[in-house]
Amino acid sequence: MKKNQYIGRQSMISRILNPKFIMVYATIALFLIIYLFGALAYGNKGFTTLRTFTNLFVDNAYYGISAVGMTMVLITGGIDLSVGAVASLTGMFIAYGTSVLGLHPLICIVFSMIVGVGLGLLMGWVIHYLNVPPFITTLTGMFLARGVCSLISRESIEIKHAMIDALSGWRVNFMHLKDGQWVKVKPTAFINFNVLLFIAVLLVGMYLLQRTRFGRNIYAIGGNEQSAKLMGLPVGKTKVLVYGFNGMCSVLAGIAYALYVKSGWNLSLQGAELDVITCAVIGGTLLTGGVGYMIGTLFGVLLKSIIPALITFNGNLLSWWGKIATGLLLLLFILIQKIVVSSSGANKMKSKAKVTKE
């Protein structure tokens, strides 16, 4: 009985040091190391300014938005290759709708939502109820969406609309106090609508994953789908909704991208799905499912975007080095994951039941 007393307490420290967060810590640590490296190497060129940091968000918000949905899909043990094409399609809808058909952008956005979420739900349904592998199903979705893009137009269409201009131009500048006056920091650093959208989607994703049954069912399905079924969890419904949610994220990412480049092009965001998956994986999400955190994905996005930033600051390196560095990063993280997973398996062998007999 005596022993039972200590289980009542669980210190904050042991909660933070929980081994299940190891991957997230690795991502954060690596981001800090690379940031520190950048600060040492290119500090004099302005790498440490706030602007460099906020630009990581501004320039990659659309990846981040999509990565939130992708993280959920990956946690279920699935994959979604259609996100880039769906985002591109959203851009086409907005560009064609506003510039050619003269529609209000909100109508285009609502339409995109219906199409994107609908496609997601449909793919989820096919994956679960027809038992088609996610890879194939979403590959089909990708070709479908990309095909429709080209059907709409094979030329880039500029987006010209007052609301789009206002949204993409809107920004909150960072200010600081200088000689008793609030002035903009120099060089100017700001966040825009896309960054806010990213943060909002990220928070929603976090809330869904950690605070709702829907989110916990996602983890359970990724852990062992058969068990989840036998535990009486709504496996089919959850999976369909996850792909639907990811469809929504793709559309939001498409909106953010449209605001970022202010045009729609049928070949935009080609291969973006792989970048998005990369963000999630280097953020600690297991491709085999069951493990992943939004905070990890956030740092995954930052980690992936800091590399091109470094290359820009260097100025001499070809941008292809970015791809190579990203590849190495991905490899590194997959290796870390392997090690973490196999060592937690070894733990199991060691842990013999601590049984108190009365």
Binding site: I7, Q210, M231
Partner: protein
């Protein structure tokens, strides 16, 4: 039948394509009762349970729970009706914490959000009730199978189940853990829960149950109070034959002048086993006895080349041989049927035919593929010879019962026409009838001139079959006994001599 039955299943019939899986079976369960469900593999135990949990739909019959007729549609539906099942393989999510595994899908909510604090608190209380002092915020995969099993039961119990079905929960537990589980079962029983207990361990049946029901080939044999029936009767009823006729086996006849098939002198490998010498005659069966970890399996792996030997010499069929890897052993006429059937033996998604053909194919090399016709001939031959219960050779091996899987593995190696066959725990986890069958097959092979090495934790089967018995202890060969004159006590005392200091591992 008494009136206070919690559950009543009447005239249950289930038809599978071509087979009547259950034929007018009655089953009843009282509140506050532990009721064992017994039968051989394929007798219909799982089918009956799956019918109760809504996995299979019954063709005729009625199920009544507390006087009301029910029609379980799915495991989820059964759970809502108050029927919870804990399976042999733990069906929980390894990535979630212990606490979450108990509550996932029915988490307590607060302000529309999951109330993690209450979950942790209640999980702790539940585990404490099971006398388990563990950190419930650790992932399930961190803990041993026994604890995982307890967590599964905790979840089932907390759902406010009226009926708890335990489907072979003890097969991976050690003695202490079994006692712990029994304690919990008794507490639940005292609270008025009805428990259906399925196991192959007859001792456990007698230790814990109040009543038992026996099935055979989809038919009901009968239900008995535990005091009404003896173990011998029980076994007789289960297999439908007298136990003695079943085990009426004769040791292999080995001619005194039979040639030596395998001679190993002073073989060993660092960290594995030391200085083992073995001789094996043509058509002889020798048994390896000893505790788990005593070096039985290690010796077998050394002989087969799965571990590289660093000292000693081996002669096979009178010729000096140097076996470096299993392939060498296979090419020289040896076969090895490893211990863990699920992990090292079967390939679950392949058909029986493919599983049988594997070793023959490996021996021929991939440039000389077996034609489908040859494969079919092999499969059909062994399905018939070994009495593998299956509609056809194309069934996935993973869908067979344990005993039948073991027969397929045996067939795989028999098909290679081995001179020396090593069987590591071929009878573990299968029922008595199938055990007897496997033993009969081994001895039959000896009769055909195959030399067999038989490893088993069950001394009675070792003694029953072996010409000679090699006793292992602490990774060394400590005795070689004659099978005819050997007794269990003798082997036990040899093992115990050293085990007294080693602490003695539970079998």
């Amino acid at each position: 039948m008494p009136e206070n039955n919690l559950l009543e299943m009447k005239q249950i019939e289930i038809l599978f394509p071509g087979v009547k899986a259950l034929d007018k079976v009655d089953f009843s369960l009282r509140a506050g009762e532990i009721h064992s469900l017994l039968g051989e593999n394929g007798a219909g135990k799982s089918t009956l349970i799956k019918c109760l949990t809504g996995v299979h739909r019954m063709d005729t019959g009625t199920i009544t729970l507390q006087g009301k007729e029910i029609h379980p549609q799915s495991p989820q539906h059964a759970m809502e009706l108050g029927i919870s099942t804990v399976y042999q393989e733990v069906n929980l999510c390894p990535n979630l914490t212990v606490a979450e595994n108990i509550f996932v899908g029915r988490q307590p909510m607060r302000h529309g959000q999951i109330d993690w604090r209450t979950i942790t608190k209640r999980a702790k209380e539940l585990m404490a009730r099971f006398h388990l002092n563990i950190d419930v915020s650790r992932p399930l995969s961190f803990y041993s199978t026994a604890i995982q099993q307890m967590v599964a039961i905790a979840r089932a119990v907390d759902i406010k189940a009226k009926i708890l079905i335990l489907d072979e929960p003890t097969s991976s537990l050690d003695d202490n853990e079994v006692q712990l589980l029994f304690g919990v079962m008794r507490e639940l029983k005292a609270e008025g829960m009805g428990i259906i207990f399925i196991t192959h361990f007859l001792d456990q049946v007698f230790a814990i149950s109040d009543r038992l029901t026996i099935l055979r080939n989809g038919h009901l044999v009968g239900s008995f109070d535990i005091s009404e029936i003896s173990k011998v009767e029980l076994v007789t009823q289960m297999i439908g034959k007298d136990m003695n006729t079943i085990f009426n086996l004769r040791r292999a006849d080995v001619a005194p002048d039979a040639p030596f098939m395998l001679t190993a002198s002073h073989i060993g490998a660092p960290g594995q086993v030391n200085d083992i010498s073995i001789t094996l005659k043509k058509g002889e069966l020798i048994g390896f006895a000893g505790l788990l970890g005593s070096g039985r399996t290690e010796t077998a792996e050394l002989l087969f080349g799965a571990t590289r030997m660093t000292s000693g010499q081996m002669e096979l069929d009178g010729k000096q041989t140097d076996i470096k890897k299993p392939y060498d052993a296979l090419m020289r006429g040896m076969a090895f049927c490893p211990e863990d059937r699920k992990r090292d033996g079967i390939i679950g998604d392949l058909s029986i035919r493919e599983n049988i053909s594997l070793a023959v194919q490996a021996r021929r090399g991939f440039l000389h593929p077996l034609s489908l016709k040859e494969q079919n001939r092999l499969a059909d031959k062994y399905i018939e010879a070994l009495g593998i219960a299956t509609p056809d050779a194309e069934k996935k091996i993973g869908e067979l019962s344990g005993g039948n899987q073991q027969k397929v593995i045996l067939a795989r190696w028999m098909a290679t026409d081995p001179k020396v066959l090593i069987l590591d725990e071929p009878t573990r986890g299968i029922d008595i009838g199938a055990k007897a069958e496997i033993q009969r097959l081994m001895l039959e092979m000896c009769g055909n001139g195959v030399s067999v090495i038989f490893i088993s934790s069950e001394l009675d089967e070792i003694i029953r079959c072996s010409n000679r018995i090699i006793v292992m202890r602490d990774r060394e060969k400590v005795a070689e006994l004659d099978g005819e004159t050997c007794t269990q006590e003798k082997i036990l005392s040899i093992i115990a001599e050293g085990a007294a200091t080693a602490g003695g591992e539970a079998q």
